[in-house]
Amino acid sequence: MSTLLELENVRAGYGQTRVLHGVSMSIADGDVVALLGANGAGKTTTLRAITGGVRWDGSITFGGRSLNGASTEAIVRMGIAHVPEGRGILTELTVEENLRLGAYLRRDGDAVAKDYDRVFEYFPILRERKKLSASTLSGGEQQMLALARALLMRPRLLLLDEPSLGLAPLVVRAIFDIIRTVNQSDHVAVLLVEQNARIALELSSSAYVLEVGRVAVAGDSTKLQNEESVRRSYLGY
């Protein structure tokens, strides 16, 4: 498989505070990669660097093209869908309007219509709530909406920032099943930031563990799962 996204020695921060101290990682086409680590390790900042939400230096390439200096809008147009921390739901708009914004960049009307059918198949509740304000959805429903909206963007790479946060275990299970389905049937690569290491390692093929802005451990997800020492010191289970 060819490399889709590559980070080399990426340093980033906010104002004077540096959060990433040289992160390198790569994601192959169609791969699911987990990005793990404690609070404040730099997981969210890594995602924000990729979509240009924070100043960074080093090198980030997507599909062979450098993302250096590209605006968020331009990066998204290249095929990266980013479900940010807090899900990025537009609460002033209806559920349907949120979904329409997912397809905002697309010009292939027929395929969009099919994709609508598909996301409603994944998340039937969204069809029922179509006309309601997105602010009335529960946390789980908002996460579903964020994911559905990202899928309507037809991305090559999906960045997910803690999709399990604040959700009941059953809902988490349902959402992760759909992430797996999407990855397998559409060949969408996924970079998954998670606090819940156990479920993230189950889904991913490889994983990176960040510790204060650096990659502390990286490798095959199954191996990391089975290594006592790694699990205890970095993953906390």
């Binding site: 979509t51 939400g53 605006s71 968020t72 809008e73 998204v76 147009r77 869908a81 980013h82 940010p84 990025g88 739901i89 537009l90 609460t91 002033e92 708009l93 309007e97 329409r100 914004l101 997912g102 905002y104 960049l105 304000s133 602010s135 009335t136 959805l137 529960s138 909206r149 963007m153």
Partner: protein, 293 residues
């Protein structure tokens, strides 16, 4: 009763004018978190453009759309050149910048056209027509008609088109919108263009009544503020409803409340602002509690 109906119709005409300018204020408020204090002056300058075009022999109905288009472009350019560099500045900076813009535009109009009030033509006669027993002037009906058309067009653009959807998204959630590929900065510029166009309509509609001079909009913008606040400052529909209510209320107060007359009507607008802020700070259609706790 017929006189009352007449006052209401004439109030609705003023209301349409206030509604257009109030809508302009709300569009900018949503994008910037602050009203544009130069909105009235920009509308006044656009009205002078229409005045010049008509003065050169152009038909009113050609000058009107041309002015609206130029006002739109002007609003867009002002956002790109003056507002964008201070977009992320503290709110006080933005207040000063828009106040400065107001002074600048006012001075520019004074320099170009002087301060002598001028007659502005109206395509509608002041003759009256009988509607359900009330004598309504063609001018009032015309103003109501033009305002209604403009407001409906803006409503359709914002609510029914993908571009309008992107504009609303960009105004409320710039970060999240960027992640969906929306060119937020351009959407905000379009918002300024739209606001400027709506303001131009209010200026052209009010000019035949108030006479055109650089300070013409200074009372109108107070009514528009009252309308926007009454509507909930964030709600375009609220601004329109607020505009109509303010127009009718002020007109009725002028006609029936002893002592108000023409001179104290502006005080009624202030009274509405104060009353709304005390009784219902979120206005009629401000952010409602349709959300989970």
């Amino acid at each position: 009763m017929t006189e009352f109906a007449q006052q209401v119709i004439s109030g609705l005409a003023s209301g349409g004018i206030y509604a257009s300018l109030a809508l302009a204020l709300v569009l900018i408020y949503n994008a910037m978190g602050l009203v544009n204090f130069a909105q009235g002056e920009m509308a006044m300058l656009a009205t002078f453009l229409a005045y010049t075009l008509i003065g050169r022999g152009m038909s009113y109905w050609i000058a009107l759309p041309i002015t609206i288009v130029v006002a739109f472009a002007g609003g867009l350019v002002i956002q790109r050149v003056i507002i964008r560099p201070v977009e992320r500045a503290p709110v006080l900076t933005l207040v000063i910048v828009t106040l400065g813009l107001a002074t600048l535009v006012n001075g520019l109009a004074g320099f170009l056209y002087g301060y002598i009030p001028r007659d502005f033509p109206s395509p509608f006669s002041v003759q009256t027509v009988d509607i359900l027993g009330a004598a309504a002037s063609y001018r009032d009906l015309g103003v109501i008609g033009v305002s209604a058309v403009v407001l409906v067009l803006i409503y359709l653009l914002l609510q029914r088109t993908t571009l309008g959807l992107a504009m609303r998204a960009a105004a409320h959630h710039p970060e999240a919108s960027r992640l969906l590929g929306v060119r937020v900065s351009w959407m905000l510029a379009l918002g300024w263009g739209l606001a400027s166009a709506a303001g131009a309509v209010s200026g052209i509609m009010v000019a035949p009544i108030l006479l055109l001079e650089p300070n013409m909009m200074q009372s109108v913008i107070i009514y528009a503020f009252a309308a926007a606040v009454l509507g909930g400052i964030e709600s375009p529909l609220g601004a329109v409803i607020g505009g109509l209510i303010v127009g009718v209320t002020v007109n009725l107060a002028g006609a029936y409340v002893p002592g108000v007359g023409g001179d104290l009507q502006l005080a009624v607008a202030f009274l509405i602002i104060i009353a709304v802020l005390v009784v219902r700070p979120n206005g009629l259609l401000g952010r409602r509690a349709a959300r989970r706790a």
